[in-house]
Amino acid sequence: MKKTIITVVGKDGVGIIAKVCTYLANNKVNIEDISQTIVHGYFNMMMIADMNNSSKAFEEIASELAQIGEEIGVVIRMQREEIFDSMHRI
């Protein structure tokens, strides 16, 4: 499978990256790139991750991440990279 894009958007707070990264590490999802910024007080993070070694299915990780997002008050989405590739690359 190709890469996965994880985005985290929401109100800034302590430990957002830590929480997400810990979950990913526990589930053997490798983070290949990470960039983060604060726009108008809103936390905005994007990760490119490789989940080929993860034992969990895409859907399971996506919904668990979304749940973690709810707990800490941010929106976490996980999408396959192809949608961005196809839209922005010829």
């Binding site: 894009i5 985005t7 905005n44 994007m46 490119i48 996506a62 949608i83 961005f84 839209m87």
Partner: protein, 454 residues
């Protein structure tokens, strides 16, 4: 590598601008289900559709989740039933029984519409075609998800005026039979000139006999995305305007292409076409009329509307064609009234009339669509409206269609509520002068001179 801004842009399109894939439509040939016994035929139809489409809805949902793009509708189109039922249907009720089978199997596989309760009569009608047409009021009033379409003319054949006259009656009868639900049956019935074999959009989808056994078509959408992109170039000249539409259409279509390829691979069914259509919904911010306003009109229907729509339609195609390996179906901006809040507003403001809508259909797909008219409109007037619209299609070598709803018991000034994607509509006035003598002549209008290209 993908940048954060690109990811943000895509996700904003999805979250804020209603970007979605409007439909994955699986076309299924039912030619091998023909039988001289009605019950056997119905059984074969059910088995064939279940064998092909059982995983369609699940696959669509999986793709939605993995890519984060909503796929609004999952649908099925089948071979025109007038052909499939020709060997076993002896009465309109026999045809309606097949409609019931289609409805049941659509519910079983979970698709929201199944299209193809159709007859292709552009030059003449067989007895089977006539039975099917006569069964439409019964079929549409006793099913929920079946959509019906009739091809009444084409550039190569001219217009079958006998069938046009008959369909005026059929539309009215369908309205009567579904009057408890504001004549909703007519929202599932469309008549065409130059109907495409591979249209994924309802109510006009059917699986043409030129198609393979089973195929996946995808209809994209995205009026909200185009509108937002144009907000950023307010006041710029036409070159900038057109380039912006083209680039946006490219991006939207690429998503459709991705979804189509993915669905095709997962279902093990060949990819057919992408239909490049700006298809509005009643949701705020998902309107083609709003794009016309953003281009510079006070309301859709104001002078300049036809030109604005022409350029919009053309740029959507130019951007979309490069983004997809196969383009087909209707491919153009849709201008339904009830399904587009901006169109509804324009009608209510008095800016938009049926005559102006007719002019607009000369430059875009697909025709007079989802227009509510008074329930006491004469049948021959409906046939006259159909004949006008089909003539535009015939002469301009394009698809045109009429999906008009005479709302029984209601008149101009009242509103009709269809619900969901079908939306609501103010009832529009119709020209009250008669055309009985024209419609009642009988026969057909010959093909236009420029169709003789051999």
């Amino acid at each position: 590598m993908i940048t954060r801004n690109e990811v943000l842009e895509t996700n904003e399109m999805i979250e804020k601008e209603n970007l979605d894939v409007r439909t994955i439509t699986m076309g299924i040939s039912l030619l091998d289900c023909m039988d001289s016994d009605l019950e056997t035929c119905r059984k074969k139809i059910k088995e064939k559709i279940l064998s092909k489409a059982s995983n369609l809805v699940k696959t669509g949902k999986d793709i939605e989740r993995e890519f984060g793009i909503p796929i609004v509708n999952k649908r099925i189109s089948v071979t025109p039933i007038a052909i499939v039922g020709s060997a076993c249907c002896k009465t309109p009720e026999d045809y309606a029984a097949i409609a019931k089978t289609l409805d049941d199997v659509a519910k079983e596989v979970g698709v929201n519409f199944i299209g193809g309760y159709s007859a292709l009569v552009s030059k003449g009608s067989t007895p089977s075609d006539e039975l099917l047409m006569k069964s439409i009021p019964l079929a549409l009033s006793t099913t929920d998800r079946v959509c019906s379409s009739i091809n009444l003319g084409s550039t190569k054949t001219g217009i079958n005026m006998d069938a046009v006259r008959l369909m005026g009656d059929i539309i009215k009868e369908t309205a009567e039979r579904t009057k408890e639900a504001d004549s909703l049956g007519c929202a599932k019935l469309v008549v065409f000139c130059n109907a495409p074999d591979d249209n994924p959009f309802m109510a006009g989808a059917f699986h043409g006999v030129t198609e393979g056994d089973c195929v996946i078509h995808v209809g994209v959408s995205g009026p909200g995305v185009v509108k937002t992109a144009l907000e950023k170039v307010r006041g710029e000249n036409f070159e900038v305007l057109c380039e912006t539409i083209k680039k946006t259409a490219f991006k939207v279509t690429r998503v459709g292409q991705l979804v189509a390829k993915e669905a095709s691979a997962r279902l093990g069914v060949p990819f057919g076409i992408i239909d490049l259509s700006l298809a509005p919904t009643p949701a705020i911010g998902d309107s083609v009329a709003d794009i016309l306003c953003e281009i510079g009109l006070e309301y859709a229907g104001a002078p300049g509307t036809t030109a604005a729509l022409a350029l919009l339609n053309d740029q959507v195609k130019k951007g979309g064609v490069m983004a997809s390996s196969y383009v087909g179906g209707l491919s153009g901006a849709f201008i339904p009234v009830s399904e587009d809040q901006g169109m509804i507003n324009a009608v209510e403001a008095g800016a938009l009339t049926i005559e102006k809508l007719e002019a607009m259909t000369c430059v875009c797909s697909v025709g007079l669509d989802m227009i509510a008219i008074p329930g006491d409109t004469p049948n021959t007037t409906i046939s006259g409206i159909i004949a006008d619209e089909l003539a535009i299609g015939m002469v301009n070598q394009k698809t045109t269609a009429v999906r008009i709803i005479p709302v029984i018991g209601k008149g101009v000034g009242e509103t009709v509520e269809f619900g969901g994607l079908l939306g609501h509509a103010p009832i529009m006035p119709v020209n009250r002068f008669g055309c009985e003598n024209f419609v009642n002549r009988g026969g057909r209008i010959p093909a236009p001179i420029h169709s003789f290209k051999n």
